[in-house]
């Protein structure tokens, strides 16, 4: 077997996969802005993504804020810079941890479930049935999910920001002996609007990506139960990778000197 041909084939397959994904994303976005709209389906997805993801995002950001306060205190104590703990917690949570962790958690919870649901609908011919009932499946199934992911991740991350900073505050006050007033004052002095906004922009992008990958892999699923399982796994893995890649890209856009 010619190794060059194998590399060429793999590269072409990669380009083909990227092309398919981009076309799928484009079709989904055009369906979001063109009627008919399905408000009930959108509302259901918004509740599923936004409301039901709250506990897992809250717990993740709470403990991340707590551990961040502990770790940064340990590090800063070496330079007698313990006063920077509150600021570091606030910046890290708002800029990075809340959007990335919320994105990853939603990818695990919602992305996998979207892929499994749409994959099951595909293999049981429910998606074909929609086409026969004067309904475009891209419009009815995919567009509301992608819009809901895009819209609901920012408020989810905003809640995560508050809870994460609160986690740092609890450790700061009860474990590291900060005074409540000083901790809050430090937090306000460090944090800027741009920090929060960059996190929310990331959240919107991650919400879009998670829903897109969940829908894409589910919609194209084939091969029965095994195919549905593969779709769910691919949705989570590809979402996680894209979240990390786009996290760097958006950070670069906001903060690169």
């Amino acid at each position: 077997m010619n190794p060059l041909a194998a590399i060429g084939r793999a590269f072409l397959a990669l380009l083909e996969a990227i092309g398919r994904l981009v076309l799928f994303a484009f079709a989904a976005v055009t369906h979001i802005v063109r009627p008919p709209f399905y408000p009930r389906a959108l509302l259901r997805q918004m509740v599923d993504i936004g409301y039901y993801s709250l506990p897992v995002v809250a717990l993740t950001t709470l403990f991340s804020g707590m551990v961040l306060a502990l770790q940064s205190h340990t590090g800063f104590a070496r330079f007698s810079a313990e006063g920077a703990v509150a600021g570091v917690v606030a910046l890290s949570i708002t800029r990075e941890l809340a959007p990335v962790l919320a994105g990853l958690m939603v990818a695990g919870r919602v992305g996998a479930s979207m892929a499994a649901e749409l994959g099951t609908m595909r293999v049981t011919e429910q998606i074909d049935a929609l086409s026969t009932l004067s309904t475009d499946p891209m419009k009815y199934l995919v567009a509301p999910r992608i819009l809901a992911g895009f819209v609901m991740l920012p408020p989810l991350v905003l809640v995560g920001d508050v809870i994460g900073i609160f986690g740092g505050y609890i450790v700061g006050i009860y474990k590291l002996d900060f005074s409540p007033g000083a901790y809050i004052d430090q937090t306000w002095r460090f944090i800027e609007v741009r920090d929060v906004v960059s996190g929310l922009v990331k959240a919107a992008a991650f919400g879009f990506l998670v829903s897109l990958m969940g829908c894409y892999h589910g919609y194209r699923s084939a091969g029965g139960a095994q195919g549905v399982g593969r779709a769910a796994t691919s949705a989570v893995v590809s979402s996680a990778i894209l979240i990390l890649v786009f996290n760097y890209v958006i950070t670069e856009l906001f903060f690169a000197k």
Binding site: E125, S131, T135
Partner: protein, 259 residues
């Protein structure tokens, strides 16, 4: 509407391949208005693909499907939806939407096509459920709470709810016990007659085919190898049909079985 003497559905030279596998190799079939055509054939001979081509779910590689004299191959968007709004389809596994209660499944096409609001569609859905022998209490159940036979009835109700003039039935009796299969066959005959619809069914269940067909066509290796009136099938003189209807292992049809 079809002109005089013009078939309701005319399929000509339909070809479809999936990769190397050539499933349809030139299907030609005419179905008259108000006629019930049953296509028989073994598994993997292209029966379902033919119906999916007619519904626009699968795009044929070449060929023509005229519905009332108008080409339906290649239609997209609103034009395809307009054609599909006149059609009903009963899927092999029912394909009921798990996330919706039974009545919403039945009313789905009515609401989607803008024929009824969601609220107005409920009485019509319950009426259609009654037509297939299901009481109003079934309307609020979820599809997962129904037996296989009840799911088939609901799927039939969904297929006829918008009073289509063409109905497709994909293996309507598969997975049912003989009594329930006969009940479904009777319902199909009754519904098609009442609507005055044209029906295209695909099955390998000969009892079902004999009961619901006016005419039968046999598909083998992607081509129609025989078609004729249901009364003529036992004297078709076609060796493929003879082997199939008698369920003989030996004959011109060779199954892909390795020993």
């Amino acid at each position: 509407m079809s002109g005089p003497g013009e078939p309701k559905i005319r399929i000509r030279g339909l070809h479809k391949a999936f990769g190397e596998k050539r499933v349809l190799r030139g299907v030609d079939l005419d179905i008259g208005a108000g006629e019930s055509m049953v296509v028989i054939g073994g598994s993997g001979t292209g029966k379902s693909v033919t119906v999916k081509c007619a519904l626009g779910i699968v795009e044929p590689d070449s060929g023509s499907i005229l519905i009332d004299g108008a080409e339906s191959v290649g239609l997209k968007g609103a034009a395809r939806e307009a054609v599909n709004a006149r059609m009903g389809m009963l899927f092999q596994g029912g394909a009921l939407f798990d996330s919706l209660p039974v009545w919403e499944n039945v009313a789905f096409g009515l609401v989607a096509a803008g024929q009824r609001t969601r609220r107005d569609a409920k009485p019509v859905a319950l009426e259609t459920l009654a037509q297939v022998g299901l009481g109003p209490e079934v309307g609020d159940l979820m599809p997962a709470e129904l037996s296989g036979g009840m799911q088939k009835r609901v799927a039939l109700a969904r297929a006829i709810a918008a009073r289509p003039d063409i109905i497709f039935f994909d293996e309507p009796t598969t997975g049912l016990d003989p009594i329930m299969a006969d009940v479904i066959n009777d319902l199909i005959v009754e519904c098609v007659r009442e609507l005055g619809a044209t029906a295209l069914s695909i099955t390998h269940d000969m009892a079902s085919a004999r009961k619901i067909a006016d005419r039968i066509a046999m598909l083998h290796e992607g081509r129609i190898v025989w078609s004729g009136a249901v009364a003529d099938i036992d004297a078709s003189g076609n060796e493929f049909v003879d082997q199939f209807i008698h369920g003989r292992a030996s004959g011109p049809i060779r199954m892909a079985v390795r020993r």
